[in-house]
């Protein structure tokens, strides 16, 4: 069973249906026990880093994420759901950095580009050795974000570029994350979801 953590973050219906195409049972939940014990947990996320972190904390999602990683249970962060896995996010310079879950070292920062958000389909540059990109190497995926991580973390990284190179995806043992939205990336996204779901 795949659980999608509902912490008040936007359009979960598409995510629910997209992950259901993998054949797994999918449940959208705020229940701590279900989220902790699910075969796979998806941490979605749209909006602002600080708002997402506070929403995540309100359902204990930060602890659930840390615990699942410690137990080696597959967990997938999407978009802001990826960003909050880092130590901190510099969302509004005037208000300083916001603390993240802190599983990965480093900071999420504003992309150096004249037009933001980075919105639309961009190529993701992959190298061999990925689980989730099998069959969708160097494909286009749908991005909507202004902030990103720009330094490598984890065992495997895929990169994209908008103004500057940034981390498009990370695979790090049980923990996987994509800056793009696979649930909004058409057939390429469904293939990536299928790859992750099969690995559970």
């Amino acid at each position: 069973m795949i659980a999608i953590l509902d912490y008040g973050s936007g359009n979960l219906r598409s995510a629910e249906r997209a992950f259901a195409t993998s054949g797994h049972e999918v449940i959208v939940t705020v229940d701590r026990k279900i989220a902790l014990e699910a075969t796979g947990l998806v941490i979605p996320g749209v909006g602002a880093f600080a708002a997402c972190m506070s929403g995540l904390k309100s359902v204990g999602g930060d602890e659930i994420a840390r615990e699942r990683v410690a137990l080696g249970r597959p967990t997938l962060g999407i978009c802001i759901g990826m960003q909050i896995l880092f130590e901190s996010g510099l969302e509004h310079a005037e208000s300083g950095a916001h603390q993240g879950v802190g599983i990965w070292r480093g900071m999420v920062k504003k992309l150096d580009a004249p037009i933001l958000p980075h919105m639309g389909w961009n190529t993701v540059s992959t190298t061999p050795g990925s689980t989730i990109f099998a069959g969708v190497e160097n494909e286009s995926f749908y991005f909507v974000h202004s902030y990103a991580a720009t330094a490598p973390v984890g065992q495997y990284q895929a990169w994209s570029e908008y103004g500057e190179p940034f981390l498009a995806a990370v695979e790090d043992g049980a923990l996987t994350a994509t800056q793009f939205h696979p649930e909004k990336s058409g057939n390429a996204g469904l293939k990536l979801i299928s790859n992750w779901s099969k690995s559970l």
């Binding site: 598409s14 909006g47 919105m119 639309g120 190529t123 494909e139 749908y142 974000h145 990169w159």
Partner: protein, 257 residues
Amino acid sequence: MTLASRVIACLDVTDGRVVKGVNFTDLVDAGDPVEMAKVYNLEGVDELTFLDISASNMNRATTLDVVARTAEQVFIPLTVGGGIRSAADVNNLLRAGADKISINTAAIVRPELISEIVDRFGSQVLVLSVDARRANTPSGFEVTTHGGRESAGLDALAWVEKACALGIGEILLNSMDADGTRAGYDIGMIKAVRQVANVPLIASGGAGTLSDFAAALDAGADALLAASVFHFGIHRIGDVKRYLSQQGYSVRTSALT
């Protein structure tokens, strides 16, 4: 690695049905927005926009159902516009399966609605729809309401600058002069808005020939929206993307069938 220029198909929906002329030969039910969304998705469209032109709230409830059924079957971004007056309306649409919403008149009447939506849902959900036309204003362009019939008394560029400062995530620039003419996008207007907008810009209104799409990109548009040329099969989505690709523009061609 370059961000692709997007091609967006727009469907006018009321009471759960697509209105305005639609001429799809390969659809059993050409009036069903969900069926049309599926066809455009198969043809490789990058995003879909539903414009809810319902007159009543009861009909708007039907639109929520259309959004929900589409989001369950079509896994590309879906924007919904029309009749959105409050953050609660936005929440209902996002919960139904919309990824972005576009606002127009409500933001003109009450600009603080922009901040209310952005604070709660983030900039990325909010598309400001600007129905603009050429007029005797400082920039030469003014904002209109009621489908271009009434002046909003706002200079278009001043309004765009203000809305960008309030945190909108994207601009849908619809030329009321060019809308429906198929005589080409208003290139001058796109250039002018590009100068003051620091968010992605969608060109809308006037698409006729394939070269019109390229001209809008040259003028600074990030995305190209069209309705009738697609609905009447004058161009298929794939025709536009293949043309742009051949001309050296970056488009997502992998999904083309």
